[in-house]
């Protein structure tokens, strides 16, 4: 493995390009850091190499997860490419030619089964890799290969009797149960060996496919990815924070602080030569977000929850509520959990918002909100409603909503449906819209940005 940094340079750059294509933001300075880092570490251990790259390139848990996936894929492909060009079956980066292939003939299937089980229980990665090679070879001799990697992996696993939680086949020994994750690791080795075999046979690399959306665990609505939601919400935050603080004209609407003026005047013998003003306290926005999570907005509620999640990152004075038939405060959930997936799980588990039918009841929600929360509302607070205003034929209670909007300084409504569909069917948007400061359609991040623009752009025209 005597390859200097110069030789690895194009490889590393191609790796960063793959990372970028998966949405990890890797800057030039990070690449430079990575180069500096790999010079400082020994080359013979894959873990060190990976950790050094991860420390310089993947700067969050989410990035790190994508990094692991891309790293494995990249290293595997790089090794295979090397093997192909050299065409002598060299095993590439992680090869540790232990010569298992030649000794493989001696094993019969039962023996192999026991050894693999042992390796899985011990959790030794290197052994598992070697044994996976053996298993693939043994399996191939029996002529049961289907040629489809995924199918073969499962066939081999079954014929070896490796099911998570099972004990040894003969049952005579005291064997610990197989851990599900360990079995999955072995499956991964199997898959890799099979792919390697496939590449050897066909002599070319399969096209690099992007990570499946599922692997990325981003909200899979037709709309956006979480990062862009976060970006526009950050923008929203910055604008809301400075909202109303800009002074127009010189010393506009400053209030004289009489006490301090009198006190300063003592210096000049009681003549108030210099006026003292009351300091302007920046207005801190208090935001109440009400989010519909019913089935009629399922596709959109993922989006809404991610908006909420992003808002929580940016605002400290933010209270969030979710509602279907009833309303429930979920501020705590967002404060405790940082992981978006866990948040949505917890909300669906113990939000306690669906009563009987699971249909949205806007009227009841307004009444409940008015009863419990509205005492906290004041002219400085902003209420943002995220919902489709579909009441399922129940009483929309526009009067309650009007009362609520009157208490709050500003009310915005973000509707996940295109404006065209408003007021069709059971949508009662027209009953609510006049009471809001403004209502927006919001089904892409671009709409969200528009909302940000309008909210922040002209406080004069929305206030």
């Amino acid at each position: 493995m005597e390859r200097g940094p110069a030789a690895i340079a194009p490889q590393l750059v191609s790796f960063t390009e793959e990372l970028r294509s998966e949405g990890v933001a890797v800057g030039t300075s990070e690449i430079l850091d990575a180069f500096a880092a790999v010079e400082e570490i020994p080359w013979n251990r894959r873990e060190d190499f990976r950790e050094a790259l991860a420390a310089t390139m993947a700067k969050s848990q989410e990035d790190r997860r994508v990094f692991e996936l891309v790293f494995d894929r990249w290293l595997f492909r790089a090794a295979e490419l090397e093997a192909l060009t050299q065409d002598d079956g060299a095993e590439g980066v992680d090869g540790d030619s232990t010569g298992v292939d030649s000794t493989g003939e001696r094993f019969d299937l039962d023996e192999l089964r026991e050894t693999i089980r042992q390796a899985i229980v011990e959790g030794s990665d290197g052994q598992m890799r070697d044994l996976a090679q053996l298993a693939v070879a043994a399996f191939g001799r029996r002529g049961e290969g289907s040629g489809v990697v995924g199918v073969d992996v499962q066939r081999i696993r079954r014929s070896l009797g490796l099911t998570p939680g099972s004990t040894a086949a003969d049952g005579s020994q005291e064997e610990p149960e197989l851990d599900r994750d360990d079995v999955r690791r072995f499956e991964q080795h199997l898959r890799r060996e099979l792919e390697r075999g496939l590449i050897e046979r066909t002599g070319k690399l399969p096209p690099s496919r992007p990570l499946a959306e599922l692997d990325r665990a981003l909200p899979t609505s037709p709309i956006q990815d979480l990062a862009s939601v976060h970006r526009s919400v950050t923008q929203l935050k910055r604008r809301l924070a400075t909202l109303g603080n800009e002074q127009r004209g010189r010393r506009r609407s400053r209030v004289v602080d009489v006490r301090r003026t009198m006190r300063t005047s003592l210096e000049t013998g009681g003549v108030p030569l210099r006026l003292r003003y009351r300091p302007k306290r920046p207005k801190r926005p208090e935001i109440y977000v009400l989010c519909d999570v019913s089935t009629s907005v399922t596709s959109a509620s993922m989006f809404f929850l991610s908006v909420l999640h992003a808002l929580h990152d940016s605002f400290r004075k933010l209270r969030s509520f979710v509602f279907i038939e009833r309303i429930s405060e979920v501020t705590d959930v967002f404060e405790q959990e940082r992981d978006f997936r866990k948040v949505s799980e917890r909300i669906s588990r113990d939000g306690g918002v669906a009563d009987v039918s699971g249909y949205t009841d806007y009227g009841r929600v307004w009444l409940e909100f008015l009863g419990e929360i509205s005492a906290d509302l004041d002219p400085r607070s902003t209420v943002i409603v995220l919902g489709d205003a579909r009441t399922n034929g129940r009483d929309p209670q526009p009067a309650a909503f009007a009362q609520l909007t009157e208490r709050a300084g500003r009310t915005f409504w973000l509707n996940p449906e295109p404006r065209l569909y408003w007021n069709y069917g059971d949508s009662v948007m027209s009953a609510y819209e006049p009471h809001t400061t403004r209502a927006f359609e919001c089904w892409t991040t671009r709409h969200l940005e528009e909302f940000v623009d309008v909210v922040a752009g002209g406080p004069g025209n929305v206030n």
Binding site: A25, G27, S29, E30, D33, A36, A37, E39, E40, I41, P42, E47, D48, E51, A52, A54, A55, T56, A58, K59, S60, Q61, R64, H230, D313, S314, R316, Q336, R338
Partner: protein, 322 residues
């Protein structure tokens, strides 16, 4: 090798550490059992002279890592605890107004007594002006202290996620160039390379600009094996079987959906308590009595008592039978 290594001061014992294993050993001697990523990143930080951003749940030893690094390198630890509303007067530097006032007063009284002519007075005022904005009148706060220290130090910026974004922006100059601009004085450059650690509980997303300047390290709860080692390192008196059992129970507690899962420090405290009580087995009764050491919320207590307590009560007779 390159200038990064030249910047690394020769003061400490592992500051020039040659390998990852060496920095791990040095950390272990300082009482910190680092796992692979942690020792690798701290090795890199010393070699590259880059700040490290350490993230992870509360109580996994993020702050402790910085302290151990300071002990291992023999450097002084300068700590900046962040909180909402922290500003540069408390983090960087501040002019010592009282001292400046005294100086001015001393100047004016001297002047009055001498009754100097007009132009002499204004020259004097200028002298006073340049005088009071000298380093004597500067109160150094942690960041400036770390930069200006002649000896290399370890700078710990704790809980950076508690501050505002504005403060992060202010840190950028310090973290990338290791310098601080003071308008009245000019730029103070680092005379020695501090080793900077930033910790974050991940309570909010940090800015890209800050992250770009740092190495990233995610610390998680250690695996059972390592936690046993950690406990035995801090409480050498504890029996290994008991430590193992303790870690197992703590692991069970962490699996529950708690407001505040027990940290490593709390496992150590618990081990200490068990030693003091002379317990040689964790059964349901001992657990009930000492549970409050690792669980600190009313609702959590109920949950843990219900789930783990019951399991312990059931497990002990079964466990002792074979």
């Amino acid at each position: 090798m390159d200038d990064a290594t030249d910047n690394a001061p020769a003061g400490g014992s592992i500051s020039g550490s040659e390998s990852i294993a060496e920095s791990r050993d040095a950390l272990a001697r300082a009482g910190y059992l680092a796992d692979e990523p942690a020792s690798l990143v701290s090795h890199l930080a010393q070699r590259l002279g880059k700040p490290v951003l350490v993230e992870g749940p509360a109580g996994v030893g993020k702050t402790e890592l910085a302290k151990a690094l300071a002990r291992a390198t023999g450097r002084e630890l300068i700590r900046l605890q962040c909180y909402e509303g922290l500003d540069e007067a408390k983090a960087l530097y501040e002019w010592n107004y009282r001292k400046q006032l005294l100086r001015i007063q001393a100047g004016t009284t001297a002047q009055a007594s001498e009754l100097e002519p007009e132009d002499g007075g204004s020259r004097d005022a200028e002298a006073v002006m340049s005088d009071i904005f000298a380093e004597d009148f500067l109160l150094t706060r942690p960041l400036l202290a770390a930069i200006a220290s002649p000896q290399p130090v370890v700078l710990l910026i704790d809980e950076i996620d508690k501050t505002d974004q504005e403060f992060e922006a202010m840190l950028l100059e310090v973290l990338s160039d290791f310098q601080i601009s003071i308008p009245e004085l000019g730029v103070v450059e680092a005379s020695s390379m501090p080793l900077v650690l930033l910790t974050s509980n991940d309570s909010r997303e940090l800015t890209e600009a800050l992250k770009r300047r740092c190495l990233y390290l995610w610390l998680d709860y250690p695996d059972a094996e390592r936690e046993v080692e950690i406990i035995r390192l801090h409480e050498p008196g504890i029996d290994e079987a008991l430590a193992r059992r303790l870690v197992e129970v703590v692991g069970m507690v962490r699996e529950l959906d708690l407001k505040k899962p027990p940290s490593i420090a709390e496992s150590i405290d618990w081990a200490r308590a068990l030693l003091l009580l002379g317990a040689d087995q964790i059964d349901a009764e001992i657990f009930q009595q000492t549970m409050s050491i690792i669980v600190k919320h009313r609702t959590d207590l109920d949950l843990v008592a219900e789930r783990v307590g019951v399991r312990l009560a059931g497990a002990v007779p079964g466990g002792s039978a074979p």
